[in-house]
């Protein structure tokens, strides 16, 4: 059998030299005491845990060097748990190392390959069994079985259809339409052009019917960044320049790469940096990508002012905001 105990042939596997605890009774006694102390430390940990849980208030903070102020209850429960677990382990290992038998034994390995007789028997059994099915002969059963199994595979997939709606045109639509006011976020206040100084940036959301309860799916597409520059700093073609207003330019805040909020505006360089993957967009050139993995500039929102002087969108975005997808027409 494969796992029989074999006494070691001393000429083959050298036995180890005896440990101190094997030959010296004082050493053995000491090792016992050490194991006992370790178990004892575990007990201390358990007591610490129980004490901290029941008696220490959760708003007490104590100062630990390097770590600063720490919550005493949390620390007590944590260190207590750590000690109670850790020292049981150390005690058991120390016990095994010093006091348990040191003898190594040998297990033999057998070849995994089954014997030829076993293999032949298996082949015979399988052949007989398969012959009993006689699928080759029974063509009608074979075809109808195939049809049933094939059809049977469809319902499980179909039952998952209502996991979600079809994408449709949803990814192309935001709440920005002609005449939609730009509102501060948070606060939902309308903005006059004169509210923005040169070099200022503000995040805006569109005015909608219910502004207290904007769904997160809307916030994943609607945020727009308003940036004010000096008009002469723009390097835009006339079509894009017409979409600005007195040096104020608006871009979608949702990164065209993977949808993070592009919000780092560097006033000195007029660059927008996305912190996720470091795509960098040049605001003076209609958010053209100048560094990083983003492949498309940020969509620009066409803005103007309404009769009362508040900033509004003149039209919806002329492309989908956010990351790319197969159906996106990016030309």
């Amino acid at each position: 059998m494969s796992n029989e105990l074999t006494p070691i042939d001393d000429s083959v596997v050298p036995q180890h030299a005896p440990r101190a605890t094997d030959i010296n009774p004082a050493s053995e006694k000491r090792a016992e005491q050490q194991v006992a102390i370790l178990f004892g430390l575990s007990g201390v940990g358990s007591v610490l845990l129980i004490y901290s849980y029941i008696f220490v208030a959760d708003n007490v903070f104590i100062f630990i060097p390097i770590m600063g102020n720490q919550n005493a209850q949390q620390l007590g429960i944590g260190i207590g748990m750590a000690m109670s677990l850790f020292f049981i382990g150390i005690a058991a290992i120390h016990w095994a190392k010093t006091l348990m038998p040191d003898k190594e034994i040998v297990n033999h390995r057998h070849e995994f390959r089954s014997s030829d007789e076993d293999r032949e028997e298996l082949v015979k059994t399988v052949k007989e069994g398969v012959a009993g099915v006689q699928l080759g002969r029974r063509k009608l059963i074979k075809r109808s079985l195939g049809a049933a199994v094939g059809l049977f595979a469809l319902p499980p997939v179909l039952l998952l259809r209502d996991l979600g709606p079809l994408p449709g045109k949803k990814l192309e639509m935001t709440n920005w339409k002609a005449g939609t006011r730009l509102l501060t976020d948070p606060g939902n206040r309308p903005i006059l052009a004169s509210d923005l100084e040169v070099g200022s940036v503000v995040q805006v959301l569109p005015a909608v019917a219910d502004m207290e309860h904007r769904p997160l799916s809307d916030i994943a597409k609607d945020p727009v960044l308003l940036i004010r520059l000096r008009p002469e700093e723009f390097q835009l073609d006339p079509e894009r320049l017409a979409m600005t207003h007195e040096g104020i330019i608006a871009f979608s805040k949702i990164c065209s790469h993977m949808g993070c909020a592009v919000a780092l505006y560097e006033q000195t360089t007029k660059h927008l940096l996305c912190p996720c993957h470091q795509s960098t967009f040049d605001v003076t050139r209609a958010a053209k990508v100048i560094f990083g993995p983003a492949a498309r500039p940020l969509p620009q929102l066409d803005i103007t002012v309404d009769a009362e002087g508040y900033l509004v969108a003149r039209a919806p975005f002329n492309e989908s905001v956010g990351p790319s997808y197969w159906e996106r027409n990016s030309q």
Binding site: H16, R19, A20, T21, F61, I66, M67, G68, N69, Q70, N71, Q74, L75, G78, I90, I93, K97, T98, D102, T184, D185, P186, G187, I191, L192, D195, L196, E197, V198, G199, S200, V201, V202, Q203, I227, A261, A263, L264, Y265, E266, Q267, T268, T269, H271, L273, P275, Q278, T280, F291
Partner: protein, 263 residues
């Protein structure tokens, strides 16, 4: 010497020597590169525009021009307001130590009176943001830390990190840590938009909202690390490092002990 050299082939000799060498190099470096503290000017005179102009001509005009009109290496200060000067000089950023990527916060060169004089002079050149007074900075009373947190995450966290620890901008620029900054300077920075920071005008973030932001920052600064020591509140990068170094390191150490024969 002979006694020591007997251990030169000890298995701990290598690691020990390495640790000694590292400590030695490290201490030598930090001692040698310790900067000499600037001597403070002691001019106990009241603030005045003329006062400020003199200080300006001596310490600032070489870069910013004799009439603060600016040059290729430094912007014009006409219209930046007293708040800008109070911020830049008060945090030690100006005078700039070297023309590197951006001015860094350092011990201030000019004392309070001199800073006030400089601010008064620059304010006299053209109207600009004023230094906020004490009553305008009562963030404990007028601010709301929860609202401040929301504002912070909307407008500040993308550069300064979720806990105000600072973050990277492009080309080696950075948004500095907000820990240990005076409330007045935080306010002034929001209003004036120093260097790469954009301007957060009072119409888009109202003065009360600015105080809420300051209140939140100060609360975050005062808040102890509730779960244990952090490695600078910078997120999963430091946590992963700790898991490998401390977690796996400790466990490997114990595994080595476990599998070694007792003697």
């Amino acid at each position: 010497m002979k006694r020591l050299s007997r251990y030169r082939r000890h298995k701990a000799a290598g690691p020990l020597l390495l640790i000694i060498a590292l400590l030695g190099i490290g201490t030598t470096f930090s001692v040698a590169s310790a900067t000499v503290t600037e001597t403070e000017n002691v001019f106990a005179r009241s603030a005045s525009i003329e006062e400020g102009k003199q200080i300006f001509l001596k310490g600032c005009s070489s870069c910013h021009g004799l009439n603060a009109e600016g040059a290729s290496i430094a912007p014009s200060l006409v219209g930046v307001g007293a708040a800008s000067v109070d911020f830049q000089v008060g945090t030690g950023r100006m005078p700039m130590a070297d023309m590197s990527t951006q001015a860094m916060r350092k011990p201030r060169v000019y004392n309070e009176e001199e800073t006030a004089a400089l601010a008064a002079y620059v304010a006299s050149l053209a109207p600009g943001p004023a230094i906020p007074g004490e009553s305008e900075l009562n963030y404990e009373r007028d601010g709301n830390s929860a609202e401040g947190g929301e504002l912070f995450r909307n407008n500040c966290a993308m550069c300064h990190n979720f806990a105000g620890q600072g973050g990277a901008l492009s080309q080696g620029k950075y948004a500095p840590t907000l820990m240990g900054v005076e409330p007045k300077h935080i306010y002034e920075a929001m209003v004036t938009g120093p260097q790469s920071m954009p301007v957060f005008s009072d119409k888009t973030i109202t003065p009360e909202e600015k105080l809420s932001v300051i209140k939140w920052i100060k609360a975050a600064e005062a808040e102890p690390n509730l779960g244990g020591a952090t490695m600078g509140r910078i997120g999963p990068v430091s946590e992963g490092l700790l898991a490998w170094v401390l977690g796996l390191g400790l466990l490997i150490g114990i595994a080595v002990w476990l599998t070694t024969r007792a003697r």
